[in-house]
Structure formats: C-alpha cells, structure tokens
C-alpha cells in the first residue's frame, strides 16, 4: 500500500481499541520473568558455551603481541577468537569502528578477543590470562582542543551540515537585542538495563542469532557484510529487548563475536557485553560545543537566529546533528546553522534517544530563556510571538500540525505559571531556593516503510508477524490494538510475534518512527486480509463491516473465523510513503515545565515536579505513550543534572564506565511527573494519523531544568550537567 494522499476516514477512526489506555499485552510475561531476554534463551540451542570479551587496554595504537597460551590452557576453554584467527571480516555500514579490533586499535575497550569456555566463570578467568602488549600512539581525546581542525561533514541521513536563509550576519548585527552564547553538552551513555547480549548457533552455513537488537533488517545486512555470507543464511531473533535508546540500533561486538565464537568452538555460544566494557566498547551520544546567536526587535520578534555545533567522532563517523531543530522551531527571516566535525579517538559516537534535538535543545531552549529575559518578555510569550506555522527555511511548506503554542498555554495553566516570580532567587522553602522553568519540546516525525503479515485461523484468531521490535516501548500492544481495530476483534483474539528476521521487514525501533510506521504496516496487511475475508465469505469488501468477531454485509453475517474454515488465510503488505513528508513538515511538539529546589548551602539541585504537554498526532495507547514520555523526562532530568561520561584526556577513555560511576536518576530524583496529550490527529503521516512520542519526551527537558535553576538562583549555567560545583561560588553566603 502506498500512502501518498492524506488519510480520510478509515476503520482505525472507530477508536474502539486504538486510543485506549490498554495494559501491555506482554506485561505479565515481563513482570513474572517469563519473557526471555537474549542471554536467557537457554532452550533455543542445546549445549551453549560461554564467551567473554577482552577489551583493548589502550585507546589508540597497535597490539604488538598477544600471548594466548595461558588462556588456552585454562580449564574449560574451548576456543579463542581474535582478529588473527577470525579470517577476513568486513565492516557493517552502520559501524564506524571495527567490532573486532587488532592489530590496529581504534578506541578503548574495542573488542580484541573472545574467550569461549564451558562455563561463564571459566571464560572470564581465562580471559584474564590473555597477555597483550601494546604500542600506544597519540590520539585526540578532547573536543575543545580539536575544534580548529573540525571539518564540514557530509550530510547525515539527508541532513545537510549547513543551512542559510537571508542575511544572518547583517540582521544579527543590526538587531537591537542580541544574544551570543556558548553551550556545552557532555558525552552521554545509553546505560540501558539489559546489556548487549547474543547467542549464536551455526547449522552448516546457516547462522541463527538470538540477540537484543532494535533494527533487525539493518543488522542482518550488516552481519552478512561483516561475515561475507549471504544474508539469506542469517536469521536474527530479538523478541524482547531490555532497553536500547539507540545503543542497539546496530550490531555490536557481542553478536559478531558470538557468531565467530560459535564457529570456532563448533557449538552455540552466548556472549553478553560485560557492564564495565559497555560504555567504551559501544556507542554513545557525542559531546557538543554549541554557539547560538539570536537577534530580535525590542518587542520580541526574532530577526536573526544562528546555531553552530561542533562534535567529534572516530574517522569516518558523523556529527551530532544538534542544530536540526533550530532550522524549524522559531520564525525569523535571517538564519544560519552549521555543523562541524572533529576527529576524536574516543569510542564511537552515534544515535541516542532524539539524536540532534536532545543536545540541541539543551542549548537552544536556554538561549531562548536568556533572550526572553534580555527582552523583558515572559519566556512563554516570547516563544508564542515567534511561532511559525510554516518551515521557516522553506515557507511554502506548512507544518502538517503544529500546536506548540497550545502546548505552552495548556502547560502554563496546569502548572500555575502565572504564580511564578520572574525575578530569580526570590522564592524560598526552608533551606531550598525554588524556581520554575519552561522549554519547548520538538522532535521531527519520520516515517519508514514497514511490512507485516497477518494470519487468520478458524478460531477467529489473528496472528501478526513483523520484524518490528519492542524495546520496552509497547510495540506489541499497539500492534495488537491496530489488528484488533481493523479486524473487529477483542485484544485476546490477537497474537503478535515480533523481532524475527523471518518475518516481513518493518520500520524497526528508532527515531521515534516505530509506533506510527509499524502500525501503518499492520494496517496495510489488515486491509488485505479484510479483502481476502470478504472474498472468501462472498461479500463485497467495500460493504463488509468487521465488528465483534463477525463480518457483516447487508443482511449477511458470518463469524470471522469462518473465512478460514478451508485453511488459514494469510495476507501480507507493506506501507510505503509518497511525498507528503516533503509537502508538509511533520514534527511533534511539546512543552516541558519543571520546578526545582536548589539547596541554599550545598547547591544540590532536586527536581520537585515536572509536567509535559505533548502534541504528537493520534496517541495510539495513552498509557504506553505516557510511560514513554515519563521515561524520557527522567532521562532528560539525568542529562540536566548528572549524566556525563568523564573523559580521561591522557588515556582517552570514559572513566566512569559502569552504572555506579555513570549516574542516571533514581526514584528519589523524580518525585512527581505529569503528562498531558493534546487531542490531535495528523492525516499526513499515515492511516494511523499518529506520530512518535518516545523521543519528544526528552527534548527540552534539560533546558527546562536549567531555566528553573536560573529562576531559583539567578545563576545561568551553560555547561551540562548542572552540578553543584558549577553553582557554589555564585550562591549567596550562608548566614
């Protein structure tokens, strides 16, 4: 099915199942521990051996020698895989550095060996016996020091590095009110609960990988390229994923080394990346340095807006697209954005929840708050004044839906914004200085082609098969809701099977495109199934009404399952997209409101309450969507207040490489969260009329926190995370 004209009324609009706050259909399996994660799939292959990864002890250089004798002789050892033994390996399209390093080393903790043994403990003990000598070479590990050598990178997923409209320099220079400020965001880790983990088994030249992966088809292709075998010979299975946040978009060392280890040991091998390795071995959100310039008239109209961002990556990598939202968020006739990329020899930078917008808004939405203050205009009003209903770089393109102002106004009412004292440092609660802040949330909507297969049996049960993944987001449930709505069935008559590369190729989970795209694919398959059912029952497909487990046309009525009495009915289709996303700018919007307390003595910052108001198309399941948004708000709070991969600039690695050292918020940090979804349907996105929310929820949160800290204390921090050491010398003396 091709989606190339805006959706009209369709069966989804019945909203009998879609749009309901349905509990997760996989919830009981997860809460009772019956949903097996990759490392726990003991039953899929007999005789599983254990692999343990050895990571490079240096950031850049070469392995000068590797002595495996002691490790090979250790109890239980079955095989040791190194670049020397693995044969010729390619590199996946989505990998910047090789997943198995050596002799050249590209980054710290790059995998250099896998030790396979009968037990995990034996593999770990033997791995410690691998003796490696290195020749270190000099690397670049500090973004600030590499700026001068930064280059203009090629386009990333169609995003050009530079953009320019009008005369930015002239308009900025002429603006009566100006802001020119520099902001920094640090490297962030996905730090999801489930480590990267895989089990591999070979059957002749056929390879099966039970793994934890967000993008099945991408990863099958990359694995084929890496191993140099046809992708038809590879099967991925990833039904349950314990968090990804972008860290599992691509193959990592676990899955490649499991495959190589299983080949070497001639039996199934399982590998989980050890937690202390994860942060330097896998990808992270790269640090940025950003410069923002805004010029405005005295009454608050932006006349010039400029945003530049610098980030670093390994050779061949890409930039963090931190200027992306600035091209679209606010009006202004004269504009410029630019991204520059430095070579750094730190681990590989890549996508993490809302890549681009998350760090970009950390800067932009503080700049907007600063500008509003300079103008003496309320920060909500300043944003409203500069709203645009068209793409400001290409005014002929309207936004398909844009309710940013409504989000801001609704949030202001709900949050009690009118009671706020705009003058900083004026509100006190015991030992706490109290302040509130606001920021806009913005994340683009992307659609991706997505296919599904649906099967109807005689019992009237519909089974959906697609390689879509559920990374904790609720994919199982919204797909079941879609099939139930389309086929006129209750949820308990729907079975959803995900994450298997034997199923039709879906959009996968990334870029918050999963919900709308994958359900649109299921919609397409269900349209085909409805046609097949009607035909089988001798009804006109256009007249057939699917409801209550029955199909009715005129006076005729039949149980849905009757259509399968001669055998299962199977339908498969894929949703493809025309050019609506070019004609209309499809984006999601929101407003974040945060109240913080700053301890007057210690400078500790504690969030007191958070509110998000989101306008993001049809909300397919308000409960799952709310969970996505509160999780994202929590992650945003972490990026505001504590998350930072500490770079050792001498040794070239992230020092705090475990969950004790890389702090993410705990329950005590997040006392109260509220989420409001504005009523919205977007007929330009798909027949589902939905968009994504999983990334929108993080966008702008950190800036709202920073702005609240400013309101509480009068201290403006432009370098994240906002930790107490950055406030102490500016806080008032303690009596």
């Amino acid at each position: 099915m091709k989606f190339d004209t805006p959706a009209t009324t369709n069966p989804i609009d019945q909203l009998k199942v879609i749009g309901k706050p349905t509990n997760r259909i996989d919830g009981p399996l997860k809460t009772t521990g019956l949903a097996p994660y990759a490392y726990e799939r003991h039953d899929v292959a007999a005789n599983q051996a254990y692999g343990y990864v050895v990571g490079s002890a240096i950031a850049k250089g070469r392995i000068s020698s590797m002595n495996l004798d002691a490790a090979k002789a250790a109890p239980g050892v079955l095989a040791i895989v190194t670049a020397g033994t693995a044969g010729k390996l390619g590199k996946g399209n989505f990998n910047t550095a090789k997943l198995l390093g050596g002799p050249a080393i590209d980054h710290y903790h790059q995998a250099i060996a896998l030790v396979v043994a009968e037990t995990f403990e034996q593999a770990r003990a033997a791995a410690a016996l691998v003796r490696v000598e290195y020749a270190r070479s000099k690397g670049a590990f500090e973004l600030a020091a590499a700026l001068d050598a930064a280059i203009k990178p090629p386009a990333v997923f169609g995003t050009e590095p530079d953009s320019s409209v009008g005369d930015f320099a002239g308009a900025f220079a002429a603006a009566p009110v100006q802001l020119d400020a520099r902001y920094t965001t640090p490297d962030h880790s996905h730090a999801m609960m489930e480590p990267h983990a895989s089990i591999a088994a070979w059957d002749g030249d056929k390879l099966t990988l039970w793994t934890s992966n967000q993008m099945i088809a991408w990863s099958v292709g990359d694995m084929a390229k890496t191993l140099g075998i046809p992708k038809e010979n590879i099967r991925f299975d990833s039904p349950y994923i314990g968090g990804g946040f972008g860290g599992k978009l691509f193959n990592r060392a676990d899955v490649l080394l499991a495959a190589l280890g299983a080949k070497a040991a001639r039996r199934p091998v399982k590998v989980a990346l050890q937690r202390p390795l994860m942060i330097n071995n896998t990808t992270h959100r790269p640090a940025t340095i950003q410069r923002i310039r805004i010029g405005a008239t005295a009454d608050g109209k932006i006349t010039a807006i400029g945003h530049e961002s610098w980030s670093g990556d390994l050779p061949g990598g890409g930039p963090e697209t931190a200027v992306a939202q600035t091209r679209l968020l606010y009006a202004g006739a004269n504009r410029m954005t630019a991204m520059r990329l430095a070579v750094l020899d730190l681990p590989e930078g890549n996508a993490m929840r809302a890549p681009g917008e998350a760090p970009g808004l950390m800067a932009l939405e503080v700049a907007v708050d600063e500008m509003a203050e300079k103008l003496g205009i309320d920060p909500i009003q300043f944003r409203v004044i500069n709203d645009t209903q068209v793409d400001p770089e290409k005014p002929s393109r309207p936004f398909s839906q844009r309710q940013l102002n409504e989000c801001l106004k609704t949030g202001a009412d709900k949050f009690g914004w009118a009671r706020r004292n705009a003058k900083p440092g004026m509100t006190r609660d015991g030992q706490w200085l109290v302040g509130t802040g606001v920021a806009a949330a913005f994340r683009n909507n992307m659609n991706a082609p997505s296919a599904a297969r649906v099967r109807l049996d005689t019992a009237g049960v519909v089974t959906v098969e697609t390689d879509m993944t559920d990374i904790g987001t609720g994919s199982y449930t919204i797909i079941a809701q879609t099939a139930a709505e389309m086929m006129g069935l209750p949820l308990d008559k729907i079975v959803v099977k995900l994450g298997d590369s034997a199923f039709p190729v879906s959009a996968g989970s990334g870029g918050q495109w999963g919900a709308n795209s994958s359900t649109a694919g299921v919609y397409a398959a269900c349209v085909k199934l409805r046609e097949a059912v009607a035909q089988k029952l001798g009804m006109n497909p256009l007249d057939a009404v699917f409801a209550g487990g029955k199909v009715k046309a005129g006076r005729r009525s039949a149980a849905l399952g009757d259509a399968a009495k001669d055998g299962e009915l199977v339908a498969e289709d894929k949703m493809d997209y025309g050019d609506l996303a070019e004609k209309y700018q499809q984006s999601t919007f929101g407003a974040h409101f945060v109240e913080v307390g700053v301890h007057a003595a210690t400078g500790e910052i504690r969030i007191r309450r958070m509110l998000a108001v989101c306008a993001a198309g049809r909300i397919l399941n308000p409960k799952a969507a709310r969970s996505q948004v509160i999780g994202a708000m929590t992650m945003g709070a972490g990026s505001a207040l504590m998350e930072e991969l500490a770079v050792d600039k001498r040794f070239g690695f992230f020092v705090n490489h475990d969950l004790a050292g890389y702090e993410v918020p705990v329950h005590a940090d997040i006392p109260h969260q509220e989420v409001i979804f504005l009523d919205e349907t977007d007929p330009t996105t798909s027949p589902m009329k939905a968009k994504g929310v999983g990334e929108l929820g993080i966008c702008g949160v950190a800036a709202a926190v920073a702005n609240a800290v400013y309101n509480a204390t009068g201290i403006r921090t432009r370098n994240y995370p906002i930790t107490l050491d950055k406030l102490l010398d500016k806080l008032p003396a303690i009596a």
């Binding site: 403990e121 770990r124 770079v647 050491d725 102490l728 009596a735």
Partner: protein, 316 residues
C-alpha cells in the same frame, strides 16, 4: 575471577585458625564489595572464610553506658535499632544515607568499615593504581579526580574512603574490637583505624593479616543534635561528594567529622574548638593543608557551606 575454595566457620577462633591454615585467605561477610572486586580480579583470594554466621550479630549495652555492636550486625538492623536511633541518631542517619535497601540488608558493620575505595581507576585493571598494584602509579592524579581526596592524600594515592557509617562512628568516638590468630584481642579507635596512604596505599587499615573485627563499641551517648548531611549529585544510591557528620550541643560546642574528603573519616578535634566562631573557622582548621586538584577544589567551599547549613539547622 580466580577459582577459590570456601568454608564457613562458626566461631571467631575458628575463623582466625582457618586463616592461619590457608595461604591467600580472606574473610567474607556480606560480600557486597569483595565479590565485585573478585570478579574484576582486583582481589584474588585463594580461600574464602565465611564469617557471616558468627554469633556476632547482636547489639548489647556496655558497662560504661555505651553500646557494643557485633561485627555481623547488618547495616539495616543497626540503623533501625531503637537505642541507636534514640542515642546515636547520627549513626542511624549515616547508615540510611548509604547504599540501597538491598545492600544494607546484606552489608555488615565490620564489612562496611573494610569496604574499599570507589576510585574508578582502582576498578579499571588497565590503569595504573598503587592501591591495587603497588608501584604501578596513580592514574587518578592528573585524571578524573572530581570525587577524590583533598586532605591526607599522597603522591601515590588520592582515593577516598567511601563509608558513611564510618564517618558517624568517627564523630561518635567509636572503637573497633578485634581478635587475632593467637586469640589476642585489642581495641582500636576508629580515629586510628585507617592508614594514611603514604607510599603504601594498598594497606587500607591497621589490621594485621588474619585479624578479625568482632565488634564496634560506642561510648555512652553524648546528647546534642545529630545531623548527617550527605551531599551528592544524585538523591540516593550515590557515594558522597562530601558529607558532614555533626553533633551540636545547646551551648554551641560539638563535634564534626567529614566524609568524602580523604582516605578516612576526617575529624580534627582541635577544629571543633572553633565551632562558636562558625563554619568558616572550623573548616579552615579542618582542611588546613588541603591539596585539591582543579577538579575537586569545589570540595573546600562545599564543606564550609554544608557545615554552615548544618550549624544553622542545629540552631533550629
């Protein structure tokens, strides 16, 4: 993790005897730190002697009006003990400021004292670390040192001791009771329990090999207002950037110990004489000779401000 043998003992005498019998033995109780260290091969005991079932899990009054806390009393039980909550509120508050509920259920009084630093370079076996591998150097000096010591450190080590409990015990003048292989007992003030890193940072405490902690004793209650203020980036489940343990009397006198600033709970009795003159004066004496790095220099004003807040709170 290296392979090891394991036995469980029922009496302190059996524990010390087992230690004498086996080379490379270590005592294990809650194991909340030791097992992590073994997995990383930072600790490689050949033999574990499980002392967690020793009958040292009671809290008893002492003849001089104090409390004797058995070495195996769990952190959770110690924090919840009615006598501790009434008379040694500082200790109870320090305990619940530490770790998590699950860890406190497992962690013992003796084990808490003996936990090792959380310096990230200590935990990364690719990095030089004199505490982990004597003579290899210190990667924390000149590295990521935001969390590290500002007082009492040496050119060989700038690690801090991570315990909250020990900071309260130091302020309360607690003593550590031990027994050695010969059955000889001794009592060491917490003040003297930890060794300055000097050139031998691998030695954390004054305990001799095989010497077993049997109890911690608290002198009779000192009254006053007890405040344990732990400062951290994350509201829970994080080690202290710094902490202030204070007992403040109505007349303004009192005691102050600090966590997160050095290799041991940091208390200088002479500094307490400055309490009537306020936090600045106390801090100046407490942290005299501090040698912070660029990354942890914030700890000096932080201590002063936190102490000022604590004193203001104590005044009510």
């Amino acid at each position: 993790m290296k392979s090891f043998t394991y036995e469980r003992v029922e009496t302190p005498a059996a524990a010390t005897a087992a230690f004498a019998k086996t080379k490379g033995a270590r005592f294990i109780a809650g194991g909340t730190n030791l097992l992590d260290l073994m997995k990383l091969e930072i600790e490689t005991p050949a033999h574990l002697i499980d002392v967690s079932r020793l009958a040292l899990d009671t809290i008893e009054p002492t003849t001089d009006g104090g409390l004797r806390i058995g070495a195996m009393v769990r952190n959770t039980d110690l924090a919840a003990d009615a006598r501790v909550r009434r008379d040694y509120g500082l200790l109870s508050r320090a305990l619940v400021a530490g770790a998590s509920g699950q860890l406190r259920n497992k962690a013992t009084t003796a084990g808490n004292l003996l936990q090792r630093t959380r310096c990230p370079y200590f935990y990364d076996t690719n990095m030089p670390c004199n505490k982990r591998k004597p003579g290899s150097g210190c990667a924390a000096i000149g590295g990521f040192s935001r969390l590290h010591a500002i007082v009492g450190a040496s050119d060989a080590c700038i690690a801090t001791h991570p315990s909250d409990m020990a900071v309260a015990m130091r302020a309360l003048d607690a003593w550590v009771e031990t027994v050695d292989g010969a059955g000889k007992t001794r009592s060491v003030p917490v003040a003297d329990f930890y060794r300055a890193p000097g050139k031998t940072p691998h030695l954390d405490t004054v305990l001799a090999p095989g010497e077993l902690i049997t109890a911690v004793t608290l002198p009779k209650p000192v009254g006053g207002t007890h405040i344990y203020q732990k400062v951290r980036d994350r509201a829970s489940y994080a080690f202290a950037l710094i902490s202030v343990a204070a007992v403040v009397q109505k007349d303004g006198s009192g005691r102050v110990a600090l966590g997160g600033v050095g290799y041991k709970p940091w208390r200088i009795e002479a500094a307490e004489a400055e309490l009537p003159r306020g936090a600045k004066a106390v801090t100046a004496k407490l942290l005299a000779g501090a040698k912070p790095s660029h990354e942890n220099a914030y700890k000096l004003p932080l201590v002063e401000r936190t102490l000022a807040g604590v004193l203001a709170q104590a005044r009510g």
